[in-house]
Symmetry: C2
Subunit: 201 residues, 2 copies
């Protein structure tokens, strides 16, 4: 009999190894396709939105009459003890839909107030680091037409976003522009993956 | 006086909230630019390679005389209790360089044995989910010329990779091909970010 492509796997015995205000460290047991019992450890967020995803993550293109730029945010990330270049993103609030969260985060982090219809999100959540966490986001894109990238709206930051600022980089030569920031910032892997695609295809 | 673009931030009082064999949950305090003391929680890997990064992550292009495809892996990921579509990737072993790890993981997960010189890695580690973990990888790309994508080498899997198999998808229409897998798998965010770039640029 052929092995099914996606054999069913059962998780059992989830045990907390440590619990914080925001995150929990868990050990879980599961049984593989051959009946072998295995263990894994993972980090889970304590508050997950009703949507089943934790966050939204938006690729923001700024198009002027002559050029295309990408809009990123740079902020200090205590978890990695560094400034990081990321797509605008944020956690989905309770009772918020993914598109509402994407609109709100874009408005707060970049000052751009866009129509919900202009935001195209993934149909399903995508995962951040599936070897380590069950954390997921809806990932999407929005295209914004502007006259000039030197005159952009002001972010409306929350108190815990004290370090956040926007950065606009030309799509042409994006990887090189990001590498120029690497002495001072870590590049987020989703941003880097995007830049590799843009540069090499 | 102008605010410096990247003001220095000091971390202190890192405290373990829970410790597993592979992961630790930590609470840390830090002081922001205005002298305000803040807290954060993060998940860290217990064993980090001497390179300062945890893993490697490779965009693998397969080029035939007529088409370009991308080579992905699908495996069961207990942390998220789902099969996941990812770029070939893996943890860097102790004493291994990032390029050696990339060669080894590519050979194990896909069967392709490539020259080290053909692997182009990021100059610095990039981060996986900087709101939650300090985990990082060297991300890169490799282009492999093949006659036919239906006749590929056999992976050389380790015991804990019991569920792993490769999947080859055409670069043309990549996002749609990935979405066709979403009923059975979660898409990794780096893969999704790449596919969005390919589709929309």
């Amino acid at each position: 009999m052929a092995t099914p492509l996606f054999p069913k796997v059962q998780t059992f015995n989830t045990e907390s190894l440590g619990h914080g205000q925001w995150l929990t460290l868990e050990k879980l047991d599961y049984q593989d396709n051959n009946g072998i019992r295995r263990s894994w450890e993972r980090c889970v967020r304590n508050n997950t939105s009703f949507t089943g995803a934790d966050a939204v993550d938006l690729q923001v293109q700024l198009i002027t009459p002559t050029h295309t730029h990408m809009l990123f945010v740079i902020q200090y990330r205590p978890a990695i003890e560094s400034y990081v270049v990321e797509f605008p993103s944020g956690l989905i609030d309770p009772k918020e839909s993914p598109v509402e969260a994407a609109r709100r985060e874009l408005r707060e982090e970049t000052g751009f107030d866009v129509d919900a219809a202009s935001i195209q999100l993934s149909k399903r959540p995508v995962c951040y680091e599936p070897g380590l966490t069950n954390s997921t986001c809806y990932m999407g894109r929005v295209t914004i037409h502007v006259d000039d990238v030197t005159d952009l709206p002001k972010p409306q930051l929350e108190d815990d976003e004290w370090s956040l600022r926007t950065v606009v980089l030309p799509l042409n030569g994006l990887l090189k522009h990001l590498e120029d920031l690497e002495d001072r910032c870590v590049i987020d892997s989703r941003v880097y993956s995007f830049a590799l695609a843009v540069t090499n295809l």
